[in-house]
């Protein structure tokens, strides 16, 4: 008890200092006048004594540090009968660690104005920490505890379980989520990618403390760790920090092997009835993997089809000309063991069939005649010209660089990426389109009460 009180006093004292630091930050922000063109951004590689590598962009004008990291893993590493373990874990890492129970841990984070969050994708488990540089030691201590000694107390597990179950119930009523899950289930039957990433009510109910700990100890390892730091920290300090925070993790992860997979080469239309006025449709195909030589061409093609907002064909045809939807878009999603091209549209039940017809016609046109020289030039102008917009804050730089690391594109990617886009020709795009844009394979899932939709394929 007295120890706790002492800890409390200590924290209070620290916090007072921190408030002064916060005001200093305002002041510094007011007078910064450093120039940092994205093109000239200096990305360093830092290696710790124990061999952990990280990328670093120093920015000492503002006393903040943004740390982003990722472990290869994600929901595809969930045990076969326990979908949702990875997502469950991502919600548990600020629920107490070491000697600090949930509330104590969270109050410590608040005392030092630290931000920490986790999320998972199908292939990756992501972490994000932001701290004032003055509080970096305390923040890193908490981060290390979270990663290496999470408590997984019973009451915290039950509390988070309740929240996850509620969110699954909500998702099961959300047409967007239902259509998305139905699409993945149809595209990847009998594969981890086909399971609902966040689990089901049944699997979430069955997950135990041992499952969380087993996942953590298998996945959190140094060899499958990627780290980026941006802000007020230098290479030496970062090297030490890497060993302090991540050095106690095992060297090797114990990843289950995940088989490579492609969506079936057979189109389908799956309708899930829901009593809503507007139907949501998700449509997609197999795509190209990130390191495929045609990926950049496909990326530019997708921008023209449905990735470019109001400059895209789908937006033009579905929304601007016909007023059929507020939102229509497509994207390429390369994964570690597959790749997809996916899109979505939402239109009132009576007209969803027309929206899907318009989309099919546009996709067909893109395959058969392809974009024009002007389409290609416009796409390149946007994609190359807007790249700098992704690097105008510390937090955005950190996220961008971590993405490049996770996709294993190399530290020079920031400098070569625009040239790769400029090099794409119409011929390249036609070639890429032939590789994936086969409408016979289109898998469409619709949620709502759609009128006039006949199953195909």
């Amino acid at each position: 008890m007295s120890l706790l009180r002492q800890a409390g006093l200590h924290v209070r004292a620290v916090a007072r200092v921190n408030f002064v630091n916060l005001l200093a930050v305002f002041f510094l922000l007011n007078i910064v006048a450093l120039s940092r063109p994205a093109q000239a951004m200096d990305i360093k590689t830092v290696k710790s004594a124990s061999g952990i590598e990280a990328w670093l962009v120093e920015e000492h004008s503002v006393p903040l540090v943004a740390l982003r990291f990722a472990f290869t893993g994600g929901s595809s590493q969930d045990p076969a009968d326990k979908a949702g373990v990875s997502n469950f874990l991502s919600a548990m890492l600020d629920e107490g660690a070491g000697d600090l129970k949930s509330a104590e841990f969270q109050e410590r984070m608040e005392d030092i104005a630290m931000r920490m969050s986790y999320e998972d994708s199908r292939d990756t488990f992501y972490g994000s920490v932001e701290t004032l540089s003055a509080n970096r030691p305390q923040a890193m201590e908490l981060l290390k505890l979270a990663l290496t000694k999470p408590r997984f107390d019973d009451d915290a597990i039950e509390r988070i379980r309740g929240q996850l179950k509620a969110s699954i119930v909500y998702a099961s009523r959300d047409p967007d989520r239902v259509a998305g899950n139905a699409w993945y289930a149809a595209a990847f039957p009998n594969h981890p990618y086909g399971k609902p990433k966040d689990g089901t009510l049944e699997t979430i109910s069955s997950i135990t403390r041992d499952d969380l700990e087993a996942y953590r100890s298998r996945i959190f390892a140094r060899e499958n760790l990627k780290v980026v730091a941006v802000g007020d920290i230098d290479a030496d300090a970062l090297a030490k920090l890497l060993d302090e925070v991540f050095g106690d993790l095992p060297q090797k992860a114990k990843l289950n092997s995940v088989s490579d997979v492609a969506p079936p080469k057979k189109g389908s239309l799956i309708v899930t009835e829901m009593d809503v006025p507007q139907s949501v449709a998700v449509f997609g195909l197999g795509g190209l993997k990130r390191k495929d030589p045609d990926f950049m061409s496909a990326f530019v093609l997708n921008h023209i089809i449905g990735g470019g907002g109001f400059a895209s064909k789908l937006m033009e045809e579905v929304r601007e000309k016909r007023g059929l939807a507020y939102s229509v878009y497509s994207y390429l999603s390369p994964m570690d063991h597959s790749a997809i091209f996916l899109g979505s549209v939402a239109t009132k039940n009576e007209a969803i069939a027309e929206s899907l017809d318009v989309i099919r016609a546009e996709l067909k046109k893109m395959l058969e005649t392809g974009p024009t020289e002007e389409d290609l030039k416009n796409a390149k102008d946007y994609l190359t010209g807007s790249y700098a917009l992704r690097f105008d804050s510390n937090a955005k730089i950190a996220s961008q660089l971590l993405g490049i690391m996770v996709e294993d594109m190399g530290i020079d990617y920031v400098n070569t990426r625009n040239a790769q886009i400029e090099a794409v020709t119409l011929e390249d795009i036609k070639q890429a389109a032939k590789r994936f844009l086969d409408l016979n394979d289109l898998i469409v899932t619709v949620v709502g009460k759609p009128a006039g939709l006949a199953p195909r394929g």
């Binding site: 005001l23 016909r322 807007s386």
Partner: protein
């Protein structure tokens, strides 16, 4: 869950579109010694604010109009937001639908949003493209052209937007019904996106009338943040916006109906099979920053942080951690309104608990704060959290443009905005307790229940959705 602002393009779809649409509650900033923003006025009355951030060679350019959904003529709900969409059609210089395409060809991103109090347009571009987007934005301030056909097609888009945002989502329906009940007289009762039956009747003439009256330089604020200096912005603004005559018809005072005294708590029940889980919601009418007594809104920010923000909050600890009657609980304070603010609280019932228990516990927690106040630890953490949010947000130039634009458009000064952290620091535990006693007044509140299936209340059974209102004692 809430529609604060409604915008032209769904931001959730694309990482390329980086702007945040739903504004934060902050209207914040730094110690007054060193103003972060510079301000001046053009001869025609247009206000200009420049926030320098030279870390990257990029600028954010925004124009904020002092008009929003709450300024709409009666029966024409949704016209402010509809016009926002139509602003992307054409002028003599810009062909139909070309505005965003030109910005994209410049390597830029653009969008717009509408709230109850403002309509704002923005572009993010490399700094050497600033002059071009300024001339385009100035052009459409007065030269918009619309055809009936364009207007009718876009009206369908907006009806689809309403279906996506509201009609497909029972939480959004309840929120809309609660707002409509929170205000007896003030137009904040009406959703920003508009009522469906009124949107369905809006036409070209409605849009142009609204446009011609409100879109003028003396009713607008230009905000530029990023790698640009004041002198350059002044020069460019004079060459573009500076050429547009002011409109003497649009007044400086934005007079709207004033709420009468609110003397009766209201309760709504929405039963909808799509609801999934039973949840409880409460809105309180509260003062906004620009209408509050000095320090009052800051105290509300601190109060709601302590009461309802995150897992260390009073509501979460009591309902979720200790009593286990809710799976989650939280809330927020909107203090950025021109005429008033709102405190919103919510809890999702845990399996096996009912909403009567949940509501009673929320009321007990509030009564406890009103009677016994908050601890010094809570006060310190809440202030730290609010101020830290400000610091982290300041890393992002779009957030900066938004913070200043939003503050100024509802009538704050740059000093008000930049003095905010110091004002938060001055809040005492006694101030917080007083805010709980004064602003969390059940007579000025609406309680809403969202039920997945009809309970035994005969008034709430309905095939799809029903809402009932009754005063409570």
């Amino acid at each position: 869950m809430r529609i604060l602002a409604s915008c032209r393009f769904p931001l959730l779809v694309s990482s390329l579109v980086t702007a945040l649409m739903l504004a934060t509650t902050l209207s914040a900033t730094s110690a007054h010694a060193a103003p972060r923003a510079n301000e001046f006025k053009l001869a025609n009355g247009m206000q200009v604010v420049v926030i320098e951030d030279k870390r990257a060679p990029v600028v954010t350019h925004m124009v904020w109009y002092r008009v929003g959904a709450a300024d709409e003529p009666r029966g024409e709900s949704g016209i402010a937001h509809f016009l926002e969409h139509l602003m992307f059609k054409s002028t003599d210089k810009i062909a139909v639908g070309e505005f965003s395409k030109i910005v994209a060809r410049l390597g830029g991103q653009d969008n717009a949003f509408t709230s109850q109090d403002t309509t704002a347009y923005f572009q993010r571009v490399a700094k050497d493209r600033l002059a071009k987007v300024m001339s385009m934005e100035a052009d459409r301030m007065v030269n918009l052209r619309l055809t009936d056909n364009e207007v009718l097609t876009e009206r369908n888009v907006i009806l689809e937007e309403r279906r996506s945002r509201v009609d497909n989502n029972p939480s959004a329906i309840l929120s809309e019904q609660m707002d409509a009940t929170l205000y007896y007289s003030h137009p904040y009762a009406i959703p920003v996106i508009g009522w469906e039956h009124e949107i369905a009747r809006l036409d070209r003439e409605d849009a142009l009338n609204f446009y011609k009256h409100y879109y003028a330089p003396n009713n607008a604020i230009l905000v530029v943040s990023g790698d640009v200096g004041v002198d350059e912005v002044r020069k460019l603004a004079e060459e573009t916006y500076g050429k547009i005559p002011s409109n003497p018809e649009v007044g400086a005072n934005r007079l709207r109906p004033v709420e009468p005294p609110q003397l009766a708590a209201r309760e709504l029940v929405l039963t909808d099979p799509r609801a999934g889980k039973a949840s409880f919601h409460r809105y309180y009418l509260a003062p906004s920053y620009v209408k509050a007594q000095k320090g009052e809104a800051e105290s509300l920010d601190v109060l709601v942080r302590i009461l309802a923000n995150g897992s260390t909050s009073r509501l979460y600890k009591s309902l979720v951690v200790d009593k286990k009657i809710a799976s989650s609980a939280g809330g927020w304070y909107h203090g950025d309104g021109l005429d008033s603010g709102k405190v919103a609280l919510y809890a999702i019932a845990a399996d096996g608990s009912d909403l009567d228990q949940v509501e009673a516990e929320i009321d007990r927690v509030i009564a406890d704060v009103a009677k016994n106040g908050v601890t010094e630890d809570e006060l310190r953490r809440a202030k730290m959290g609010l101020t830290a949010d400000y610091v982290y947000e300041s890393d992002n130039q779009s957030n900066m443009a938004r913070r200043y634009g939003w503050g100024l458009v509802v009538g704050q000064s740059i000093e008000d905005i930049e003095e905010w952290p110091a004002a938060i620091e001055r809040v005492t535990a006694a101030d917080v307790q007083k805010a709980a006693q004064k602003s969390l007044d059940i007579r000025q509140s609406v309680s809403g229940r969202l039920l997945p299936e009809a309970d035994n209340d005969p008034g709430t059974s309905n095939k799809r959705a029903s809402a009932t209102a009754s005063p409570r004692g």
